[in-house]
Every structure is written in C-alpha cells, then in structure tokens.
C-alpha cells in the first residue's frame, strides 16, 4: 500500500514537469493559434542555458536559483525574437503554415545546441537544499521531486492570478475565447502576441531549467518533450490551463501505475489516453468548441484548372521524368523513385488537408500500413511483388476506414492530434508485435520481382503508379466528390442544408487519401528492400506535412512542388553537410518568409499578375 502511494507521488512529480512545458504551449496556442513545434527547442535551450549558468555561477542558492531564473528569462527573449522576426510576418498565411516556420527553428536549434554544448549528455548539479531524500510513508522519496510536485500547482495559481487579476490577463483570455473580437476592440494585437510568446517561452525555459537536477541535458530533449507537451495540451483542451493541469495529472499517474501492470506500455500510453479522451470528448477534457460566430476568415481561393502555361510545364516535367532517367546512373534513379513516391504521399495528405480542410499529424500511418501490408505478405506468405503492391492500398484503406471513422468527426488541431494518436498506436504495434512485424528490426528481403529488379524498370513502375494515382486524386478534386469535400470545408452549414452528409464525405475522402498513401508506402517498401516502424513514425508524418505546406496547401499542384523541393533539398543537404539540419532549417525559414502562400501558391500569383 505504501508503495502504491509513493508510486502515485512519483507520478505527481512527472505530472508537474509535464504541466510546466504544456502550460506555455497552451497559452501560446490559445491566443495565436500557432502550432509551435519550437516549444520543445525552447525547453531544451532552457535546460542547456541553466546548465551553463548554474555551473558557471558560484555554488549555493543564489547561483542555482538565479541561474534557473536567468535561463528562463533568456529563453523568453529568444521566444520574443522568434515571434518578432519570424512569426509576426506570417500570421496572415494559411492555417498551420506557421508550423513550418517553427519546424525550421527546431532544426536550427538542434545543430546550434550541438555546436555550442557538444554531443555528450550534460549532468547538472543538484539543487542546493534539495539534494537528498525524506521518508514518505516509510519509503525514501527525493526532496526535489516533492519540490516539483509543489511547483506545478503554484505555477497554475500564479497564472490564474495573472489571467484573472490583471488587465493584460483579461485581454489574453478574451483573445483566447475570440481572437477577432479583440482585434475589433482596438487592442494592440502585436504587443499582445509578443508578450504572450514571451510568457509561453519563459514557461518552456523554466520547465527545461528545472529539469537539470533530475535529468541529464541532451540533444534529444526537444523532440521528446514537444510531443508529450502537445498530447497534454490537447487532452486538456487547447488553450485551457486547468485542462492542461488535469491532463498532465492524468497522464503522469497513468504512466506511473501503468508500468506496474504493463511494463511495455511505455511507448504508447500517452497516445492511448489521448485517443480515448478525444473520441469521448472531441475538445479535450476542459476545452470548448471554438466560437464560429465570428469566423469571418477570408474565403479559400478557388481551385482553378491548370492554366495552359502550367499544363505545359507539368507535361514538360513529366516528359523529362520519362526521357531523361535512362541516361542517368542508378543513384539518380533511386532519388527519382523516392521523389515520385513522396509526391504521391504529399498529394494524398493534401487531398484531406486542402479540399478537406482536415490537417493530419499522423498520415505516415497509412504510408506505413501500405508498406507493412506488402511486407507482411512477403514475410509470412512469400507473396510476389505484384500481390504485395495490391495489398498495400487495401491494407492502408482498411486503416483509413477504421481510424478515419473517429478522426473525421473532430476538427482542427484536435482532429490532427487524433490522427497522430492513431498513427502512434499503429507505430507501436509495428514496433512491439515482434512475432508478426519483426519489431523495430523490421522486415527484410522485400525486393521487387525479377522483372522489376532493375532500378530503371522499378523507377518507371513507381512513376506510372504514382503519377497515375496523383492524377486520379486530382481528377477527384475537380469531380463532384472533390467539390462536395470543399463544400463541407467552406460551409458545413450550407453543405448539410443541401443534403450533403459531411461525415460520410470526409470519411470517404480520408479512406481515399489512405489508399493513395498506401500505394506510396508499398512502392517505398520495395524500393528500399525492407520495412521498419520508422515508416510510420512521427517524423515521416511531419515530412509529409512540411511538403504540403511548403508547396502551398491552397493549390492542387502545391504538394507536387513541395515534395519535389523538400525531398531534393533534404537529400542534397544531407549528403553535402554534416550540419544539414542547420542549413535545411535556414532554407525553410527563407522559403517561409518569401513564399507565405507556398511555392506553387507563389508561382500562381506571379502568373496571375502577368
């Protein structure tokens, strides 16, 4: 019994740490609606900076706590710089576009931290006065953990006072509830956003800084924490501080007790919780449906059929893709094959993001289902490639059918996070069901049939299937179904009022997109010769998202341009530089600032002008 209580206490300490990071994220999201991927980077910076300060400053209370506070403030300033120099310029860009910019920041911070602090983990000193342990119910319990348990509620209380007892806080709450209204009230929105970013960043930095007495500082902290923080924020309800606190408690405690019963559940527990909560409560524990009364967003631009200029350009590109490869080496064929596959992957994601207006953070699941659909047949039934390539879209479609049923009921970031939860559940199944999937060691020997062994033949096969599928998706976009999908996005009220079943239409679109992603995944498996859980990892989902956003979510050719640019850039930079993440990040930021409508969007604008 004592042991169980202490286990619960350990869960509280974890919950407190989670809440600290999540609180900053939820405050920023609530006001600015920015999905800030860089929040984890700010957390990591907080940890590194406080390590540096605490080890440099004289030992003792002042040195330690001063160092922690200073680190949090510096991170706050970094956050302000990000807001002023970068995000402020792209608030008018399409929804989620800012995500692309913050991802660029993530990449840059990763390499900068490596350059400054080196590759080795750093262990900071323990907190003065809180080094040891005390007896709790006859069990030894670290003092610092007790301190952390107290920090969470204290920060929550301070934030509550800030938001409920100051004019600034009232404005922030108003902005969270209804952004347009605050703009209409003549409040200086810029100053509000900047100060909110400062507060959120300070909280991220503080969260990181307070970890140094219990965890080593390392270069993976950013990505580890950003995913967990998002889960907490979404489970709690976007923009809701008490919700985030409750969600952190729930996840911290389930984690602490879950491992007693299912030690291997560690990979997926948080995502299971998120999936269950979102299915039952589509706006999180304490979230509210966003007010639609003032949603006077600018209307989406129409999809125009390709202009003659574009049609010729596309045809020329396709012609090049057919004629040139026989004269290139095998490696060029490998890259071309990968680009073709990524185009289909991006186009399939765009299908639900663009016309459907549903972002997905977990689209890699269907890519992975396709790859595994093929590979499992090879592994367990020694099936030939032709069968495998048929199984891929089927398996992915099945996945889309099941997951989509739940996801398309939700909207906005909630829907996106539910797709992420399902993708992570699929990922951990592939990762942990070793007998079936080979676990993280994957499935090997997924090679093409004899006739398609040559890189050139396989390239043509991939090109044919990918271009064919992309054209079909494109055709669907301009057919009644694509229009119906857009209708549901533009005005759900009107769509329903003219007899459209929005749920079924979105569900069907989700399945179509999954099928297309499955084709891409199947081809990918045979091009690589092996299948691993990384095919459905978060980073692949994010890659897809980046391609769509980079190309421009509001144009039909956007994902093509985005996949081409991103895959090519990534491949080139990765080969050319050790610090490829830094360069990729800088290029992404440059593209974001110069082409806020995406690459294809920018082309379209230029065309429109001439």
């Amino acid at each position: 019994m004592e042991n169980l209580l202490v286990q619960g206490l350990s869960g509280l300490a974890t919950a407190s740490s989670l809440f600290l990071v999540a609180s900053g994220l939820t405050v920023i999201f609530g006001v600015t609606r920015i999905v800030n991927f860089a929040h984890g980077s700010l957390y990591m910076l907080g940890a590194y900076l406080s390590w540096t300060l605490v080890t440099q400053l004289p030992r003792g209370h002042l040195g330690f706590w001063g160092g922690v506070a200073l680190a949090a403030l510096i991170v706050g300033v970094v956050g302000v710089l990000i807001e002023v120099l970068l995000l402020r310029r792209i608030y008018k860009a399409p929804e989620l576009f800012q995500l692309l910019a913050t991802f660029g920041v993530v990449l840059i911070v990763q390499d900068v931290a490596l350059l400054i602090w080196g590759p080795q983990d750093l262990l900071g000193p323990r907190a003065p006065g809180l080094r040891g342990a005390t007896m709790v119910l006859g069990v030894r319990f670290p003092l610092y953990e007790l301190f952390l348990i107290a920090v969470g509620p204290v920060v929550l209380a301070l934030l509550w006072l800030l938001f409920n007892r100051t004019r600034w806080g009232t404005l922030v709450r108003a902005a969270t509830a209804d952004r347009e209204m605050v703009g209409a009230l003549g409040v200086n929105q810029r100053a509000l956003f900047t100060t909110v970013f400062f507060l959120g960043s300070v909280l991220a930095g503080l969260g990181g800084a307070l970890q140094i007495p219990r965890e080593s500082v390392n270069l993976q902290m950013d990505l580890v924490v950003i995913v967990e923080a998002f889960v907490v924020v979404v489970v709690g309800g976007l923009g809701s501080l008490p919700g985030a606190f409750l969600a952190a408690l729930l996840i911290g405690e389930l984690q602490a007790f879950g491992i007693l019963i299912f030690p291997r559940i560690t990979l997926v527990l948080a995502f299971l919780v998120m999936a269950v909560v979102l299915v039952i409560r589509p706006h999180g524990l304490l979230g509210r449906a966003p007010s639609t009364a003032h949603a006077a967003a600018a209307p989406e631009p129409p999809y125009l059929p390709a202009s003659p200029w574009r049609r010729w350009a596309g045809l020329g590109l396709l012609l090049l893709a057919v004629i040139v490869p026989p004269f290139l080496g095998d490696y060029a064929l490998i890259v071309f094959t990968e680009i073709a596959i990524m185009m289909l992957f991006a186009a399939s994601l765009h299908f639900i993001m663009g016309p459907g207006g549903m972002a997905s953070f977990g689209h890699a699941a269907y890519f992975g289902f396709g790859a595994y659909g093929a590979a499992l047949l090879v592994r367990h039934f020694a099936a030939p490639m032709e069968l495998g390539l048929l199984a891929a879209p089927f398996m992915a479609g099945l996945g889309g059918l099941v997951f989509g049923f739940f996801c398309v009921r939700l909207s906005g970031v909630y829907a996106a996070m539910l797709t992420l939860a399902f993708a992570q559940i699929a990922w951990s199944t592939a990762f942990q069901w070793v007998e079936m999937t080979g676990g993280d060691n994957g499935i090997l020997g997924v090679w093409p049939s004899a006739w398609a062994q040559s890189k050139l033949v396989f390239y043509y096969l991939s090109l044919a299937l990918c271009v064919g599928a992309v054209m079909l998706l494109r055709r669907a976009i301009f057919a009644p179904f694509g229009y119906a999908l857009r209708a549901g996005r533009d005005s759900p009220l009107r769509a329903e009022a003219i007899g459209m079943d929005g749920f079924r239409i979105r569900w069907f679109a989700f399945i179509l997109a999954a099928v297309a992603a499955g084709i891409a995944g199947g081809l990918f498996a045979y091009s690589k010769g092996s299948v691993f859980p990384t095919y459905m990892s978060i980073s692949r989902s994010v890659d897809g998202l980046l391609m769509v956003l980079l190309g421009g979510v509001k144009t039909v050719s956007g994902p093509i341009a985005g996949a081409l640019a991103y895959t090519w850039l990534h491949e080139q930079l990765m080969r050319a530089f050790d610090l490829w993440r830094l360069f990729l990040g800088i290029i992404i930021l440059a593209l974001v600032l110069f082409f806020p409508q995406g690459l294809a969007g920018a082309l379209g604008r230029r065309e429109g002008r001439s």
């Binding site: 490596l114 262990l123 560690t266 090997l444």
Partner: protein
C-alpha cells in the same frame, strides 16, 4: 570540442551530383562508404568518426594499401534505415565506394546488411549490437565488428552467477536491444544458476524514461539484484532517481555498457559505485597497443578516446588488414578475405578474428566494477573478456544462422 566538421561541400546542382561520374580507375584510392546516425547519436559517433579519421590517416601515411590510399565518404542516416539504404545506393553508384561500413542502430545495420546482400557488396557493420545481424538474418556479405548483445550479456552472466542473489529485477529500454539483452541474460543466468527468479521487469521508452516511477516500481518488487540495460540519458536519470531513493543500497547491480566513457562520463561524481559493468577503462589500460592509440588520439583531439573511438578505429584497422590480405577491391575476394581475418585492435589485447562460422568478430569488452576516483566514475578490478569465450557453441550458432 573536437567535432569533425564538414570537409566536403558538394555542389548543390542536380547535374553535378545525380549524374554518375566516370568510373574511377582501378588504381585510384580505395573508397569506403560509411553510413551512421551522426545527427541522431552524436555522443557515440563524434569520437567514432574522429578515430576513424585518425587511423585512416595513419594507414595512408604509412603508404596506404599497396600504394593505394584509403578514402572514406561519410553519410548521416539520421537514425532512419530508409535513409541509410538510400545513402548506400548513392555511395555505391555515385561515389563508387568499394566497401560499405558503419551502422549504430540495429535496424539501420540490418537494413544495410540486407541491401549489401541484395547488391552483393561487402558491408562491415561496426556497432550495431543485434544478434540477428550475424545469426538469424546473417548473410554472406555482412561482417560485424562489435561484440554483440549476446556476448556482453554472457560476460555479465558469468559474474552474476558467482554472486549470491537469487531474486532479480530487470530494466531495459523498450526496443529490440533492450528486450534481447534481458532475454539472453535471463536464459543464460537460469542455465548457470537454476532457481533464480525474476520478480520485476521494466521497459521504459528509449530516451524517455520516467525514472522516478520506474525506480519506484522496481523497488516495490524488492529484488536482491538488478540487471540494467538502459544507457545514455535514461541511465543518468535512472541512476539519479535510484541513488536518491536508495534503490541500489544493499543490492547487486549488473549493467550493460555502463562502464563505457560515453555513459560513465556524464554521470560525473554521481557515478554509481560497485556496479558490475561492461565497458572501457580508458585511462587505466596500459598495454603498449592501447597506450599508443590513446596518445595519438589525445594528441590530435585533445581528449581521451571513448568506446566509440575504439569501434571506429578497429573498423578501419580491420578493413585495412583485409585489404592487405586480399590485395583486391573485388567484392567476392574481399568477402572471402574477411572470413577468418585477424587484426590487432586499439584495445591492444589479443588479436580479434572475424569468425568464418558467423562473420562475428571476437573483439571483447572489459568487465569490472564501477567506482569513483577524483570525482569521476571509473572501472575498478577490470579484466578483458575476449569475445571468443562468450559465444554459443558452433552447433547452436549453425542452428540459428541460415546456412548455405
């Protein structure tokens, strides 16, 4: 800091990099394509790459291989097997490398191994620990340098079996490496000491350990001894929580890899004492071979080598030895040359051999107890365990490895 920065700044033009270059003359340099998770695992791989450069430089300074220089083209797979496979294609087709090498993560190693098998190219896996690489999924074209999960578990079981505890708990990262380490440890310990019981197991997510809860869960089971497989960040956090909560007091702890400077170093003066670990007592190995390597490494990079350095150095040394032996860069010759190849590694201990039986090198590891000296963790009472003594019998190996 001694992190090797890029030397190659390739042109960012499709034509320059995608078009295949003219075939390199037979008498040009011997090219190795090295693929590793540099951006994902910099702590291990920065010293690895440093030592690689060092040994390659030495080989070339001594006249190369029959007058031919060795060159290495490095690629970062970012921890993704699919990227590793793409790089492998590029290295073979564009860079015209003769040999593929590298790998840190097991799945990257397996992907490259299968790629090498499919394309009939030699792949010298340096670090991937998974047993599958040479056993269940072994193939003709793949050789592995580092002593595997099985071998290191066997070394620790040898020590654990001598000790009184009968009630064990295990903690390991939740992926193949952690799971197979635990599986082998259990199996071998039960064989060596029937009646041993395992009262708890924890599998924290790799890199995301919830250390407080994990420690508490282990403590609740009240084991007499703990077998730990966590490393890097997870290890540090586990040790901190475990020490503060008294988990290790009065308990035996046996731990994989913890004696490696990469993982012992960051713990500083909080390194646990009295753990039985595998590792690398870098400052204390005074045999001439190791001293020479250590001095050369320190002279060039101004720090002590780490275990990654040993792995990087030995991979180049082994490849050079093979090239000297075969005198050819033709794949089938090189593959045959690797079989039974012996070389002297940077540990300066007995020669290692790439076994013809399963392509596993017999490179060993040091087993000892952790202790503190001048506020830093060190290994005490260590001894070198030659890998060849910690492998299953040949018949067992044959039954696990696809034959023919």
């Amino acid at each position: 800091m001694s992190f090797v920065l890029p030397r190659r700044t390739a042109l960012l033009s499709a034509a320059a990099t995608l078009a295949a270059p003219a075939a390199i003359a037979q008498e040009g340099p011997i090219r190795i394509g090295e693929i590793n998770s540099y951006s994902a695992q910099p702590a291990f791989l920065a010293p690895y790459r440093n030592a690689w450069a060092l040994i390659q430089h030495e080989v070339n300074a001594a006249g190369g291989i029959n007058g031919r220089r060795i060159e290495t083209v490095f690629r970062d797979d970012a921890g993704k097997p699919e990227d590793a496979v793409r790089h492998a294609g590029e290295l073979l087709n564009n860079e015209r490398v003769h040999i593929l090498a590298g790998g840190f993560l097991s799945n990257v190693g397996l992907a490259l191994s299968d790629f090498a098998n499919q394309n009939r190219r030699l792949f010298v896996a340096s670090e991937p620990l998974t047993d599958a690489l040479v056993w269940s999924r072994g193939n003709r074209y793949t050789y592995r340098l580092r002593c595997s999960t099985y071998m290191q578990a066997a070394m620790l079981v040898e020590e654990a079996a001598k000790l009184p505890p009968m009630r064990w708990a295990t903690v390991a990262p939740n992926y193949e490496y952690g799971q197979s380490a635990v599986r082998w440890f259990k199996e071998l310990l039960l064989r060596a000491k029937p009646g041993t019981t395992f009262v708890a197991e924890q599998f924290p997510a790799q890199g995301r350990i919830d250390a407080g809860a994990t420690v508490q869960a282990l403590a609740s089971a009240n084991p007499q001894a703990i077998f730990n497989v966590t490393f890097a960040t997870d290890l540090t956090n586990f040790v901190r929580q475990g020490t503060t909560r008294g988990l290790f007091e009065g308990r035996t702890v046996v731990s994989m890899l913890t004696g490696e400077p990469e993982y012992l170093g960051p713990l500083g003066d909080e390194a646990p004492e009295g753990w039985i670990v595998t590792g690398y007592p870098v400052a204390d190995i005074q045999n001439p071979g190791h001293v020479r390597f250590r001095d050369a490494y320190r002279a060039r990079f101004n720090e002590l080598p780490k275990l990654g350095s040993i792995v990087g150095a030995d991979t180049v040394t082994a490849i050079a030895a093979m090239l000297r032996k075969t005198g050819s860069t033709e794949t089938e010759h090189m593959v045959d040359g690797m079989s039974g190849l012996t070389y002297s590694g940077a540990f300066g201990e007995a020669e290692s051999e790439f076994r013809a039986l399963d392509h596993q090198a017999t490179m060993g590891a040091y087993v000892g107890k952790t202790g503190l000296r001048d506020g830093r963790g060190v290994m005490l009472n260590w001894r070198y365990c030659d890998g060849k003594n910690y492998l299953p019998t040949d018949d067992v190996v044959r039954s696990m490895r696809p034959q023919g």
